[in-house]
Symmetry: C2
Subunit: 307 residues, 2 copies
Amino acid sequence: MAAYVVGHKNPDTDSITAAIAVADLMTKRGIEAVAAAQGKTNPETDFVLGKFGVKAPEIVTDATDKKIILVDHSDLAQSLENLSKGEILGVVDHHKLGDVTTPNPLEMWVWPVGCTGTIISSMYDFYGIEMPKAIAGIVLCAILSDTVMFKSPTCTPEDKKACDKLAKIAGVTDMMALGMEMFKVKSAVDGTPIRDLVYRDYKDFNMSGTGVGIGQLEVVDLSILDKYKAELQADIVKVKAEKGLHSVFLLLTDIMKEGSEMLIASDDPSVVEKAFGLKPEGTSVWMPGVMSRKKDVVPKFEKVFGA
Amino acid sequence: MAAYVVGHKNPDTDSITAAIAVADLMTKRGIEAVAAAQGKTNPETDFVLGKFGVKAPEIVTDATDKKIILVDHSDLAQSLENLSKGEILGVVDHHKLGDVTTPNPLEMWVWPVGCTGTIISSMYDFYGIEMPKAIAGIVLCAILSDTVMFKSPTCTPEDKKACDKLAKIAGVTDMMALGMEMFKVKSAVDGTPIRDLVYRDYKDFNMSGTGVGIGQLEVVDLSILDKYKAELQADIVKVKAEKGLHSVFLLLTDIMKEGSEMLIASDDPSVVEKAFGLKPEGTSVWMPGVMSRKKDVVPKFEKVFGA
C-alpha cells in the first residue's frame, strides 16, 4: 500500500509542491508514495502547477488505515481526520513542533528555514537522487512564495541557495520575474467569494487550550483590498462564531510596503496590543514589518495565550 | 549563552555520547553548545568514556531560561523539568515522536534507526565536519550497545554502515571484541544496589493517560541474575507504588539467547497476555526473540493501553 504524502488543511503552494516532491523522492528511495492534498488548490498553486505542467494531487481527508507522510505541518488541528488511525512514516516540515505524536519510530526532516521546499532540495542531495525538472520548478515557486521573494523574516541563506540550485535544474533564468508573475496571480481578488479570500491561507491553532484562527492574504499592493475590507471583517466575525474560536485574525500583507494590516475578531481584542504593543483603531491595526504569520505573529500570540 | 545538549532521564550510553557528539558538532557549526546529562553515568557508559578518554557531561535537570537541544528522546516525561520555560533549538532522536512541542521553528533529525549515534554520524557528513577520533569511538560503542551488537530488531543497515565508518576513524580494529568487553561490564550486577539495577535503563511512559514504567537489564547470560530475581520483583512493586504507576515491567534480556524474561508489577497483569499473547507464570514470563524495549515492547503496550 502506497503511503500518502499530505500537507496541511487549506493547502498553500508549499504544502502541495512538497507533497508532490516528497512522493517522488520516497518512491525513488523504494518507499512507494503518492501525493495528496486536504483540499483543492488555490489560484497561486494552479498557476505554479500549470507553469511546469504538473497535475494537482488527489484529495485525501481521512488517515484511517493509511500510511501517511506529513509535510509542512506537525499540528493535529492542521492535519488529516483520524490521524491516530493511520501510520505516520515521516514528517518534513519547517514550522514549530506541533502536537502530532506516533507509536512507532519515524523519519523527520525539520529545519528552521523559510520553506519545506528548501529541506526537500537538500533531501534529494542527501540521498543522491536527481530532482526532475518540473518538480524543481514547482518547489522553486514554493520557496519564492513562502519567503515572499526573500523578503520575509523567515527567509534564510539556505532558502536562497536552494532557489539558485533549483532555478538551474528547472531552466528558470529570471526567478524574480517568475516570482512577481506568481504574486500577481496571488493578489487577484476580484470575483472571488469573500469566504474564499479569508480561507486562502488560513490556519487554526490550539494555543494553550485557546482556539485561534489566523489567515493571511498577500498582495502586491494593499489598496486593491480597500473595497473588500468591510466584508472581510464581517466574515472573520462569522468564521469565529461558526468554529467557536476565541479569536480570528486576518493579515492583509503588502509585500512591496513590507507590512501587514491585521483585521481582528476576538473575545478579547486586548490580546493584540499585549502581543504587539500596537493599539488597534476599531478592529484593525497596521503592523510595519510584519510579513510572516509563522515568525512575526504566531509566537507572539502563543506567548500571550500561554501566559 | 551556550545551548545544553541533553538526553533522557536515567541516561544510557546513547544519551550521553549523543550529547557529547552533538555539542561538538553544533559548536563547530557556529552554534555554541555544551553536553549535559540528567543524571550520573552508568557503569557501561563509564567504561566507554574511560576507554576513549572522554569526560562525562555536567548534570543539568531544569530547562528554565536555557537553550536546549534534546537527544535520544522527545517525550516530556523523559525530559528536563520546566522544558517549556527553556527554548528548544533542536531534537536528534531515533524513537517514536513524543509529546514535546515548541513555540518556534527548530531543527530535527529523527530517523527510524537503531541508535541516535547513527544519525549523528550522518550529520557530521552532511555538514562536512570531521568527527574527532574519541567521539567516533564513544558513538561507535553507543551503536553497538543500542543494537546489542547488531542483534536487536531495531538494527538497520545504516547502523552497521555507521559502525564501519566510525571504527575506522576511531582506530578500532575489532569492534565485536570491543562490544563484548562493554556488554560484560554492563552485565556486572554483583555489589550493585537492587534499585540501581531496576533504574539502570528505566523509562516512564504516558500511554494514553496511563503511567507505565519499563526497565531493561541486558546481560550476556541470564543465569547471573537468578539470585537477584526475587529482590528485583519486590523492588518494581515498590517503584510502581512510589511513582503511582499502573504498571512497572522489567525486561531481563539475555543477549546471547536472544530473548527476555519480563518481571511484572501491574494493576492489571492481563495487559501482558493481551499485548504479547504469552501467559505469565506468576509475575514473570519468558519472551523469545524480545530484545528491544522500543521495538518489541512499547508499541504493543501502547496498543493495549490505547484501546
